[in-house]
Symmetry: C2
Subunit: 396 residues, 2 copies
């Protein structure tokens, strides 16, 4: 008899964003004439940078000619892209990452989910609360149901405290999804020092790195001394260059970063992740990798800065409008495209979501969908157009 992975029965039935889609779908069907402004799921609206478009046209043509056709590429990604990543994303911050420490893939959601493959089932996992649901769900699927939550609330300034229990793996996403808040170098150092002391591993999701404004916020966890021994970093082009439907990201696993076998022998995680990727993944499409490479050209770099600048301006519009309209508790939106809003009058997250949808035609994300400490908050994203962002703020 074929048994299912019984851990799937422990998952809540609906994935947060599917549930939102369902509610929005129902509302649209019942109110076909009402305009809806989507500030819920973190999807972008601006088209791809022109440099990426040009690079893809060129790559498509290459695929149409036998002389320049590309078949299977390296599972780790092409060197033309990994070289640029090291040079542009790390070197300027004094971080020495080599191309064989970079693994290009189809998305940070895949990588932050698949990374659980290489961890022992006995690992105790800590996550912030609220948290991106993928970290929790993928660990539940792998049987790690005893998860430690580190609350992030207005009371602690959204800076998680170190877990009181011993933990082996800590997920950190900074700039944070969903709260839009960031950690300073000194605050992140506390976690790196903990991981070094406890031989723990930090899974650092830096998908929103491109939105950092404050100079005391690190762009990479590897800016912190010793992090290269205890941290894996995830990056994404989704929010950097509008790649949500184009699908490219990368993961950095330094060669000095280790996990431990059952008998305590240290094993380089770089080797183990490489083995995982070579066995269960066949590389990112060549055409897509050329699009990502184009981000690092002079014109691409400039276009990407304009794009993130546009969304950052939206975030500023939201922050200002919400504060002007008297909302108490407006967080994030400075180093991040997300604004984390305390609901008025102690409303629950889903009540405020329903109110916003039915009364204002605005889709937000209920904070409680990200964890217990998200109750009483909603997440608003800056990824809509400036026009829609202003219109949404006027509706409030």
């Amino acid at each position: 008899m074929v048994h299912i992975n019984n851990n799937f029965t422990k998952l809540s039935k609906s994935y947060l964003f599917s549930e939102i889609e369902r509610k929005v779908g129902t509302f649209k069907a019942e109110n076909p004439d009402k305009s809806i402004i989507r500030m819920g799921i973190g999807d972008v609206t601006l088209p791809l940078p022109n440099a990426c478009i040009e690079a893809m046209h060129k790559a498509v043509d290459e695929m149409g000619s036998a002389a320049t056709f590309r078949g299977y590429g390296p599972e780790q990604g092409y060197l033309f892209l990994r070289d640029k990543i090291c040079e542009y994303d790390y070197k300027p911050y004094g971080v020495n990452i080599t191309p064989d420490e970079v693994f290009v893939s189809d998305g940070a959601k895949s990588d932050t989910g698949n990374i659980t493959d290489i961890l022992g089932s006995e690992c105790r996992v800590a996550v912030t609360d609220p948290v991106y649901p993928v970290y929790v769900d993928t660990n539940v699927m792998a049987g790690r149901t005893d998860i430690v939550y580190m609350p992030c609330t207005a009371e602690n300034g959204f800076v998680p405290e170190l877990p009181k229990e011993n933990v082996d793996v800590i997920y950190l996403c900074y700039p944070n999804n969903p709260t839009g808040t960031s950690l300073k170098r000194s605050e992140l150092k506390v976690f790196v020092d903990y991981a070094i002391e406890h031989k723990a591993l930090i899974l650092f999701d830096a998908a929103y790195e491109a939105y950092i404004s404050n100079t005391d916020v690190p762009h990479s966890i590897y800016e912190i001394d010793g992090a290269e021994r205890v941290a894996i970093e995830f990056r994404s082009y989704s929010k950097t260059a509008g790649f949500t439907g184009t699908r490219c990201s990368y993961t950095v696993v330094p060669k000095t970063c280790v996990g431990y076998a059952a008998d305590g022998t240290p094993f380089p995680l770089n080797e183990i992740w490489n083995r995982r990727q070579c066995t269960k993944f066949n590389g990112t499409p060549y055409i897509i990798q050329r699009a990502a490479e184009a981000i690092y050209s002079d014109s691409g770099w400039e276009q990407v800065k304009q794009m993130t600048g546009y969304y950052k301006a939206n975030a500023a519009v939201m922050r200002n409008a919400l504060e002007t309209k008297g909302y108490k508790g407006v967080y994030g939106g400075v180093d991040s495209p997300y604004v984390w809003l305390k609901t008025p009058d102690g409303m629950s997250s889903w009540s405020f979501f329903d109110y916003m949808l039915s009364e204002k035609g605005i889709v937000c994300t209920p904070g409680v969908g990200f964890g217990r400490s998200g109750e009483g908050y909603v997440r608003l994203t800056a990824f809509n157009t400036m026009e829609n962002t202003i219109e949404a703020m006027n509706r409030l």
Copy 2:
């Protein structure tokens, strides 16, 4: 202390194709002037069909304009592609698959690997021997090390016998990689009947379906009565349309196909796989899905038939040449782009590989790399150019 998944320490260090690449690399460095013909890894050489190129140019342009830009798509793939799959890949064979039973992804390697996520760790797995290494390695990673092997040799005509032990999951790849042999409907029915009787699951890899010539060979396992209750089918555009570097495939999980919870309750595997994909995957690039859709256009369909026809002609050239030159034991190459060749004079697979590389400049794949029963065989692929295929045969 962060423990690794200790199952990784049970894996053999080198993945077969990496080892071949290493040997070829060394040979090339030592013999820079020698011409090498690659008939080893199953990578294609013909450029993408023109219909796919045109569709991608159009899709790239759409991504460059705000009005037509696409962000996150459905994790399951766009309906425009899933509709075509049902209509063109299944309906002509009398198989009624609906779009919500189709999951588009970035590759059959990913899906055949990731499918282990949804299976209980206590499942006993059976594979053919020889076998595509991914099935074994991904199960070892998941802790299923007690694998049952079903030998496929010249003696049994490469038709595996049902396992004597009770098994819960059976991987079948037909037309077969690596032997190039196929199963008739009546032979496949034996396995479907076994799965129905034992409440087992068949994971049916049909990546080479486009190469089927014989009319008594099924194109889909769902041509067999009852298979929709006990089988998941994997398809790929890699060998169908030259997508090895373009990355698109799909997996069919019928809604009637079930696994069982620990207490014996049946669970639809479609729901569980959907949950897995929605949590750990964010969809295949829009541009790539448009390329796949174009395969089903009139011109695309014709171009793809020409492409597979070209490789099938290569396979015929190989079969004829090897038999004419007196090789005993030439298998496959009729319903498949692979020829499975018995090594002469009882040479081992790796000895013959080394001989072929150093003396003839031909890269093949040592059969033993696919399992114990592959010892004494090598795999030759028909994916090179006709010119190189003829040249390689002349060198023998």
